[in-house]
Amino acid sequence: MADQQHEWILRLGDDALVLAQRLSEWCSHGPALEEDIALSNIALDLLGQARALLTLAGQRESQGRDEDALAYFRTDREFCNALLVELPNGHFGDTIVRQMLFDQFAVLRYEALASQAVDLELAAIAAKALKEVRYHAAHSAQWVVRLGDGTEESHRRVQKSLNVLWQYTAELFEDDAVSKACDEAGVQPLNGSFTARWTEQVRAILDEATLTCPESTALLTGGRSGRHTEHLSYMLAEMQVLQRTYPGAEW
């Protein structure tokens, strides 16, 4: 169980870290100054969550790896984030639809983790993160409604974003030996147990946005076991280059 719990926390940390890195790419490229600042703020919250989670994962692993060792010195195959968060940012509509799909999931996951009393260190990080992701969720939902129910052009473009990104959502709710062990230990119920509430909330947002919820067709998966899209490798190359070149560099 100890191994699996460490792996579990690593997944949470990787989701937050990879999405933080993606969102930070918007810095100085946002569609408006306010939104540039908003995306950077969200990235910063996620990075803070990732730091706390990776630190905890490193402590549980007991191999002397700290947050930096886990962030900078693992290969793409060793990352266990969901594929959704590693996808390139695309245009602002792509980014905000991805954010909405992820935020709605993150709220449910952190609610569950914050309310359990089996792993108190994880519960404390989750309780803090929950307040932050709820704020993010309100923001991304509002934007999806604004773009979906906006002009013909914005509606057409975010519908397309949704159709593409939807293929990556089923992975969030998959269960395996690691998530089953966490469920049995009482740390977090199965990912699958969030499906109904997530679908209901996402559908409510899409309805208000006048967007059509895609049919579940071909669904892509593999991130939890290290089988990623090629996009993660390029992202990590940029994120890790300094520490790989000058190991242990500080400034």
Binding site: I37, N41, D45, Q49, R51, Y135
Partner: protein
């Protein structure tokens, strides 16, 4: 003797300012969650970050260290996440100082979930007190602030989010 050391540390911490809100101390913001002696006689300072990713947390730790080092040889800072920091811990006096410094303080309490919509409470302008203000962006110059504008005097201002 023992409590003297803790009391001295607390007194010094009362003088450590927040780097982003230099008119408020970290104690006034509710970031110090207690000081105590551990069994080895080290003063343990429990520090809670406001937001998970607040970059000021590192600067604050450095400021605490430089304030304490001349007088207290044995102390350590412990980062605590529970209970999660909330703006409910900010005193009325500190809220008034925010207003005087052009930042609209948090309105209401964090238990009021409607704050997430950014339109539940009226946020009066810290410059002219007008209640006719609008939310420009829920994310402002730092993680803890939202960006507002006064419709009356047209002044843009920061609002310390209720969190």
């Amino acid at each position: 003797m023992v409590s003297d050391r803790v009391a001295q540390v607390e007194r010094i911490l009362d003088g450590v300012m927040d780097p982003e809100l230099p008119f408020l101390t970290i104690t006034e913001l509710g970031m110090i969650q207690g000081c105590d002696l551990d069994k080895d006689g080290t003063v343990v300072i429990k520090l809670t970050p406001t937001y998970s990713g607040c970059p000021a947390t590192d600067a604050i730790q450095d400021d605490i260290k430089s304030a304490l080092q001349p007088v207290e040889p044995r102390f350590r800072i412990e980062i605590v996440h529970a209970p999660a920091w909330t703006t409910d811990w900010i005193s009325p006096e500190a809220r008034e100082k925010m207003r005087l410094n052009g930042i609209a303080p948090p309105e209401g309490t964090s238990a009021d979930k409607a704050f997430l919509l950014g339109k539940s409470h009226t946020v009066p302008c810290p410059r002219c007190d007008s209640e006719d203000t609008r939310l420009v962006s829920p994310f402002g110059s730092t993680a803890c602030k939202a960006h507002y504008q006064c419709n009356e005097c047209a002044e843009p201002f920061d609002h310390f989010k209720c969190f």
